[in-house]
């Protein structure tokens, strides 16, 4: 469906993305994950034929983004990071406008408008001025706009940014529903979001692909180990070494002489042993907790691992 090969984009002398290669199959929901400035939006803009690439090719449904962009633009619905809304229009007139410029025939405009109003739960605000709507509603109008022409492919750039938790859940549910009938690419810098929606994740870092993996694969690789944070009151020498001797402990990182990050095998319940040891040596436990992997950890891990390979 979407074939990206060696995609590179320079902004002046600065490369935004460097040689991206990936495929997206029909009906797949793929997440772009990456910190700000990783090149997510740039990639999406190129896929939507808004920006031309410096090098590399993108083929969508067999059409080239550069040569046959008009064909592709008919098949793609795009929600940019800032929803492209005219604040002085009402929701209905805006959606009708979007339908018309997206090539919906005149006699089907009203039907498509009502369909997306229904889908995005916008019926109650249909006659309001967009500029006066809350951010959550505006985001939904943006989403409605992206699917007004019933595109095969939806590209959503951070669809839940700036929303409150309830709205986030609603949007996620909506994307879930759409996933059954559309190919979706969405980007985010929030991990749980991706894990909730996507089947496959492409992690971008500094304009390069740090990892492409299915969600299962990614979580599995992350769940090989879990981490414990131990903080003690009484510092003494050799705590790290002693902890290292425990079964199932993979590594111990001392952060100062009172704080230790213990990496241990999954579900090994090392907590018990650590606590016992701490009591025996009267280190004085202040805190002992499992630390979940954050997005930062994943990036660090992935980027560090890659550097390790290079070296």
């Amino acid at each position: 469906m979407i074939e990206v090969e060696n995609l590179t984009k320079f902004y002046g002398p600065h490369p935004a993305i460097k040689g991206l290669t990936f495929n997206v199959n029909q009906g797949e929901v793929v997440g772009f994950l990456g910190p700000n400035g990783a090149g997510k939006s740039t990639t999406m803009n190129i896929l939507c034929c808004i920006l031309p690439a410096t090098a590399g090719t993108v083929k969508i449904c067999g059409f080239d983004v550069f040569e046959q962009s008009l064909e592709i633009r008919k098949k793609i619905g795009y929600l940019p990071e800032n929803p492209p809304l005219y604040p002085d229009m009402t929701v209905t007139s805006y959606l009708e406008f979007a339908a018309k410029i997206r090539g919906v025939p005149n006699n089907k405009v009203a039907a498509s408008r009502d369909r997306v109003l229904d889908k995005c739960v916008l019926k109650d605000v249909r006659h309001r001025i967009i500029g006066r709507l809350s951010k959550g509603f505006q985001q939904r109008v943006g989403l409605a706009q992206s699917m007004i022409h019933d595109p095969e492919i939806l590209i959503l750039d951070e669809p839940t940014i700036g929303l409150d938790p309830i709205q986030i859940i609603e949007i996620r549910k909506l994307i879930h529903e759409l996933a059954s009938s559309h190919t979706i690419i969405l980007s985010s810098h929030i991990l749980p979001e991706i894990t909730h929606i996507c089947k496959r994740v492409i992690i971008l870092n500094d304009g390069e692909i740090a990892a492409v993996d299915s969600l299962e694969g990614l979580t599995a690789s992350l769940n090989k180990s879990e981490r414990l944070l131990l903080r003690v009151r009484n510092s003494s020498n050799g705590i790290a070494d002693k902890l290292q001797t425990l079964d199932n402990v993979l590594s111990v990182n001392a952060e100062g002489d009172k704080e230790f990050m213990i990496e241990c095998a999954m579900n090994s319940h090392v907590q018990d042993q650590v606590a016992q040891m701490a009591l025996e040596h009267s280190w004085g436990i202040e805190e002992l907790k499992t630390v979940s992997m954050t997005l930062e950890d994943i990036f660090l891990k992935l980027t560090l691992e890659e550097k390790g390979v290079d070296a």
């Binding site: 633009r73 800032n82 406008f97 018309k100």
Partner: protein, 255 residues
């Protein structure tokens, strides 16, 4: 063509939904009316004088003494007003990020540009139409010749089209509306007075400059003559600036 019309309709809607159109039109009509009635007053004063002395009424002509100078003045007021209307066309889309909606839709760039142009020129047409009450006034009071009035309006519309073309072009250069307005105003004024340099430039170049000058082509329209060379000049002027807009917007995607 349908796409251009869709764009134009949305733009017109945003003109009529915002105070811009109403403020600009009101100011335009007030200043134009002020000038028109002053000219008319001067004319009637002269007529009265001419009535007192036999033989002086030769050459008193509504078309030449009222309508022509009014139209000239209208062109100056439009020069000041149109940049305010055109400044939003692309600058606003870029600033409001709505430009991505247009770019990600299956539209040709030329359809977007023509739609924007169409919206502005329609709004300007409406302004000129409203101001035409003044001519109606003269038709009730006297017997001005209709021909030069019609051709005069055609000329004004063509020249306004040039202003709009330059305005849309200026708006495509930036995402700042004020900069767009200032550039549009600068272009329009410069193209108006460019003929002044013809004397200094010498014979060959001077003629070219004279020909390029916007104001040089309006005279015949106001006199009631439609010269195809003038029509061609105005139309190619508009086309040239819309073409430049196309080049600018196209090249901006590469940066």
């Amino acid at each position: 063509m349908r796409n251009a019309w869709v764009i134009a309709k949305r733009d017109m809607g945003s003109y009529f939904n915002s105070p811009v159109f109403y403020v600009v039109t009101t100011v335009f009509l007030i200043i134009y009316s002020f000038i028109f009635f002053n000219i008319l007053n001067f004319f009637s004063f002269q007529s009265v004088q001419a009535g007192q002395f036999q033989g002086m009424n030769v050459g008193l002509n509504l078309n030449e003494m009222v309508i022509e100078p009014s139209f000239h003045n209208m062109l100056v007021i439009l020069l000041l007003m149109i940049p305010v209307l055109t400044m939003r066309s692309f600058a606003d889309e870029k600033k409001g990020k709505t430009y991505t909606l247009l770019l990600s839709s299956p539209l040709h760039l030329k359809e977007i540009i023509f739609g924007k142009f169409l919206a502005c020129i329609t709004v300007v047409f409406l302004m000129i139409l409203l101001s035409s009450y003044s001519v109606g006034f003269l038709l009730i009071l006297g017997q001005p010749e209709i021909g030069p009035i019609v051709t005069g309006y055609l000329g004004i519309l063509l020249m306004a089209g040039c202003y709009v073309g330059m305005g849309v072009f200026a708006s495509s250069l930036t995402d700042n509306q004020i900069i767009a307005a200032v550039i549009a105003f600068g272009f329009s004024l410069f193209m108006w007075i460019i003929g002044w340099a013809s004397q200094a430039a010498g014979a060959g170049l001077g003629e070219v400059l004279q020909y390029l000058s916007l104001i040089d082509h309006i005279e015949r329209f106001l006199k009631g003559i439609i010269d195809t060379s003038d029509v061609v000049y105005y139309l190619s002027f508009i086309f040239f600036f819309l073409f430049l807009t196309h080049r600018v917007l196209d090249s901006q995607r590469w940066r």
